[in-house]
């Protein structure tokens, strides 16, 4: 087990190295540099050169990479070229928003998707099955930005039930020790704030949940159907177990192992930033931070973000793999 973990951490280092090289090279090959963007129309050749020198952009790429790497190893990714704040701090500040959004979307998708999949499988071939599986087809193929906009139009604009965007009503300030708006609101001890935090989360979470929800429903249904006719299910019935227990403890329990793969993959994907959803609902999350930073050629923030996202992705995958061992004893190691 320790060997396994050590191996996985070795992998993590390799992935991070690869990511840093790729991001670094890509960013430097992009046309237009930060100096031009920062100085804008009033730039002169001399002022551009001075700024480039200040930022170290006149050094050979390999030297710049070495500086970046040395800094990164000590946790310093440099300061944002836009506002001079530590780049890694910006990333850490944006992450909780993404984390909260991702977790609520995924929990929503699991809480609805798994039961729907189970029902569809149990009612295979009936109108109930069709009523569940047909919308999931739309779910996986629906463009998120369109769905988000429609939801905004309906629930915020027309009906006025839910806020238009952001994480809190404008003008309300609260301490943000964790960065997770619901947790922070709860810590502030004001119930009204918790309610506001939840209200602000509903639309983005529901929008972000559509694709995972549709996927989870379809996979759960398929896996249920596949394990329904297995021989150990017959054994369970031969024991005289009530049908409910056969379904829960023998069919669903085993069907959930592959469903977990989908959940794990989605978790990794969503955590790297739900750019569209964050943009539509004006949430200051990781995805939006990264896009803004890329457009502004803000290398330090992009690099810090990329390394952070890669780390999260690898760690989430490791977590998912470790959970497999709990779910499926066959792959458990000594």
């Amino acid at each position: 087990m320790l060997d396994y973990l050590a191996g996985r951490f070795g992998q993590l280092l390799l992935v991070l190295f690869g990511v840093s090289v790729v991001v670094f090279v890509t960013m430097h090959r992009l046309p237009g540099d930060v100096a031009t963007l920062l100085l804008g129309d009033r730039a002169t050749v001399a002022s551009l050169a001075r700024l480039r020198h200040q930022l170290g952009l006149d050094q050979p790429v390999i030297v710049q990479y070495w500086r970046f790497l040395a800094g990164a190893l000590s946790g310093d990714f440099g300061t944002s070229l836009r506002d001079n704040r530590p780049a890694f701090g910006e990333v850490l500040g944006a992450f909780p928003v993404t984390l909260e959004l991702t977790l609520s979307a995924l929990l929503l998708a699991i809480a609805i998707g798994v039961p729907l999949g189970v029902v569809a499988a149990l009612k295979e071939g009936t109108w109930i099955d069709t009523a569940i599986t047909t919308p999931t087809l739309f779910g996986v193929s629906m463009p998120v930005f369109w769905l988000g906009l429609m939801a905004l139009l309906l629930f915020s604009e027309k009906l006025g039930w839910l806020p238009v965007g952001g994480i809190m009503p404008i003008g309300i300030h609260m301490a943000r020790p964790t960065g997770l708006s619901i947790v922070d609101a709860a810590l502030s001890g004001r119930a009204a704030l918790v309610w506001q935090a939840v209200l602000h989360l509903i639309l983005p979470a529901a929008t972000l949940a559509t694709i995972p929800l549709a996927l989870i429903t379809r996979i759960t249904r398929g896996e249920m159907l596949a394990s329904m006719h297995l021989e150990y299910v017959r054994t369970a019935r031969a024991k005289g177990l009530p049908e409910g227990r056969v379904i829960r403890a023998h069919i669903l329990r085993n069907a959930l192992i592959p469903v977990w793969t989908v959940i794990g993959l989605q978790l990794g994907l969503l955590l790297s930033g739900a750019v569209l959803t964050e943009t539509i609902f004006s949430l200051p999350g990781l995805g939006r931070l990264m896009v803004d930073a890329i457009l502004a050629r803000d290398y330090p923030v992009v690099q810090a973000g990329a390394v952070f996202v890669a780390t999260v992705f690898v760690l989430v995958n490791l977590g998912v793999d470790l959970c497999y061992a709990v779910l499926d004893p066959r792959i458990r190691r000594r």
Binding site: H229, L230, E231, Y232, R234, T235, A236, R237, A238, K239, G240, L241, P242, E243, R245, A249, H250, R253, N254, I257, L327, D328, P329, R330
Partner: protein, 329 residues
Amino acid sequence: MNEPLLAVDDLSLAYGEVPALQHVSLSVGRGESLVIVGESGSGKSSLGLAVMRLLPRTARITSGAIRFRGRDGAMTELAAADAASLQRLRGKEIGMIFQEPMTSLNPVYRIGEQIFEALRTHEVLPRAAARERAMALLAHLGVPEAARRMEAFPHELSGGLRQRVMIAIALVCNPSLLIADEPTTALDVTIQAQILELLKRLCRERGMALLFITHHFGVAREVAQRILVLYAGRVVEVGPAAAVIARPLHPYTRALLQSVPRLGTNKNQTILPAIGGAVPDSAHLPPGCAFAPRCPAFVPGLCDREPPPLSAFGTERSVRCFRAWELAA
């Protein structure tokens, strides 16, 4: 004979339009072992599953009754029983073991849990007592280090041990009937012999009846008191095991027996006789005797007109062949 424990009466079942069993009747007395012998496609597994009412959804019982005498003396008509009464009988009064011990256990639960589950479904007893009983049973079934095996997962056990675990699951509530569907087919020959020995011993000790399903006459002769031969969904011969084996009445039974290799006999014979042809397609049975196309004793005009009836031969035997008397003479 005393009143049978299980009486199948004129049972017919079909998968869609294709018949799997046609007018099958049989009975198993208390403590008796009846072996059903047949090739693949003969309907023998469907018969076992029909008694448990565990047939796949596509199967339909089209006629007949399956009566089972419960421990309380009440008779249940299994073919028409509702889910609740079936659940009460399954695992408690009728146990079943299957051919594939590899896939018949749920891979994600420990052995102990899978045995408890059966026990605790039917009996209210504290966890520790259930554990104790499951462990004692495993030990009794010849599972070495039973306490440690209780914590094992199915994939950590050999095929023979897994089949012993399956037997433990089937027996933990002391059923009065055990249905064993080819329980030794997937096992090595030596393990096969051990499991057969074990089943015989258990039936003796517990006075448990056995409905044993196999394609193999060698296995049948090990455990059977009575033998029933099934061909293309019909009973072709039934009788006491010793008599059927010593003097088979139906040409099919005879052919099956000849295809079993025996140690020490026919030293000069290098090729084992096999039955020519294949089991007919159940959807298109020949108009006469179903075995006629493969039968060495086939007589045109007699065997291919209409199916022969199952007729009594002496007091204890029955056979479905027009020429049985002539051939036996």
